[in-house]
Amino acid sequence: MSRPVHIITLVKWVPDAQLERRFTEQRRLDRSEGILGELDEHPIEAALQLRESLPERSVRVSALTVGPAGASTALKKALQLGADEAFHLADDALAGADIFATSAAAAAAVQKIFETAEFDADEPAEQLILTGMSSEDGESGAVPAQLAERLGVPALTQATELSLTTGHLVVARISGDVQQRLDVRLPAVVSVTDQANDPRYPNFKAIMAAKKKPVTTWALTDLGVAASAVTSRVEVLTAAARPPRTSGQIITDEGDAGAKIVDYLVKERLL
């Protein structure tokens, strides 16, 4: 019997970028409302496609989020899209967590999920962690590499294609001006771009099925992690709303607009 595959997808509950986003007086992002980050639908889709590409193997997809209570809605969406189970690490000590703290918390949760997972197989499962290319609020894209560092595994970020054969993952990514095709042994952390796939829409059946899927909620103590182990290393001193851009001079073309643009660029010393 071939080895099972266990994929953990990291998802984040983020303030909707289509709406106004703001900082609180504590210089933290206002997280009172949110959605599953659009970029985080891609790793879920990638996991589902890997499962569909391996019909002869048992593939489990677990969704993990680190975030406040409201983040459970992001997990719900992940389950509707097709994840099998969900894990939610919520702890007040993680409010305002930076990259360092987020990756420490996520690494502890990933280890716990892998350690406690049971499979009906003789051999241990192959392990893969999939993430989006970056969160839509922090936008650093640095968590996947930090997670990989903490887990002691390779990180292949910004993947545009991936395929899995026994023990090996093949990933396409762009490095500078070079298109790379890489082969890595699992376990590994892989972040996928929004070009990797087109996420599916959950149908009614999937939405109903999601309600029966297990969701496990943890605090840091459940993972044996002290709050001091997840302290942020970056302190935000000030957060100021930038004055919104305003409209300048708008003209309607009367046959001379091309020349007028050039006049403007010369005046502004941009030519």
Partner: protein, 311 residues
């Protein structure tokens, strides 16, 4: 004296604009040391500039995404006693510096636009809606990636220098099956360009005028999601929330309505010029100079006028 270690995740025959900015900012903060995974043989030429104290490499070429780059960084950090480690705002640099931050138990700040002498970092967040200042807490070094087009470039040519080869080599964790140079467009990289000409739905699949204007201005070509989804322009050129964020001196938006998704990727540009046939297009709300008109009439005149003035 503050020591700054500059990390180059790649090194070509000439320094890129973004790399010059890194050296300029580092020089303003303190003594500059450079570390790169590039081949030690090819390193001295592009790094023949004044003000670099040390240049560190591995025993040979170490290429991203090899985690050995973090080993190299860790060793160079110890050698240079750096207070600040500075890299480009590229995924490859972020990956290596992110690992270094875990090892050094310190903070990482990406996409910075400036660092003050007392090591306070300025950056734009939430797609340019906010400006924050921040610093690292604790004893570890400050690790930062710098957004291109952020600082003035002052790099003075100098003589080739000696390279210190540190005892770090590539790991075997990842096997490179293929590595192909992407075709060169002859245009500057989108995120580093001083001028960007961006095309949207309005071009209706015809890129000829966009390319002509971009070549006239030495500009990079960007695109809205509509234009990349339609297959007219490669996805890598997509400017916006889910694509590339650009901050050029001049952004020329052509036939793009300018929905929030697109605005998020370009609203920190120096000057925005917009051409759109719809006077209600949201892009006009943020344009410094806007033309309501047919791009097929406005662009040829604009190109001709630029040529006329230059001749």
């Amino acid at each position: 004296m503050t020591n700054v270690l500059v990390f180059f995740d790649r090194l070509d025959e000439e320094l890129s604009g973004a790399q010059r900015e890194l050296l300029s900012l580092a020089g303003r903060i303190g003594a500059v040391h450079v570390v790169t995974g590039a081949d030690p043989q090819v390193v001295p030429q592009p790094l023949s500039v004044k003000g670099i104290h040390d240049i560190y490499t591995g025993t040979g070429l170490i290429e991203p995404p090899d985690a050995a780059l973090a080993d190299l960084l860790e060793t160079a950090l110890a050698e240079s006693h750096a207070d600040v480690v500075l890299g480009a705002d590229t995924p490859d640099a972020v990956d290596a510096l992110a690992r270094l931050a875990v090892r050094a138990e310190t903070g990482l700040i990406t996409s910075a636009t400036d660092i003050s002498p007392d090591l306070v970092v300025t950056k734009q967040v939430l797609a340019g809606a906010y400006t924050t200042t921040s610093q690292v807490t604790g004893e570890g070094p400050l690790i930062v990636t710098l957004k291109p087009n952020s600082v003035e470039s002052v790099v003075v040519p100098g003589h080739p220098q000696e390279v210190t080869s540190l005892p770090v080599g590539p790991s075997q964790q990842t096997e490179v099956l293929a590595s192909e140079q992407l075709p060169s467009t002859g245009r500057p990289p989108l995120t580093e360009a001083r001028v960007v000409v961006a095309a949207g739905r309005g071009i209706d699949g015809d890129l000829s005028l966009i390319e002509e204007l971009a070549d006239e201005l030495g500009a990079a070509i960007g695109a809205s999601r509509a234009a990349t989804d339609a297959g007219w322009i490669d996805h890598s050129a997509q400017v916006g929330q889910t694509g590339v964020t650009v901050s050029p001196q001049l952004y020329i938006s052509v036939g793009i309505s300018g929905a929030i998704q697109q605005k998020a990727g370009m609203q920190t540009s120096g000057t925005i010029v917009a051409i759109n046939k719809d006077e209600d297009a949201p892009v006009f709300e943020i344009a410094d100079f806007g033309v309501v008109g047919d791009l097929n009439e406005v662009l040829p005149q604009m190109i001709e006028e630029i040529r006329r003035r230059r001749s």
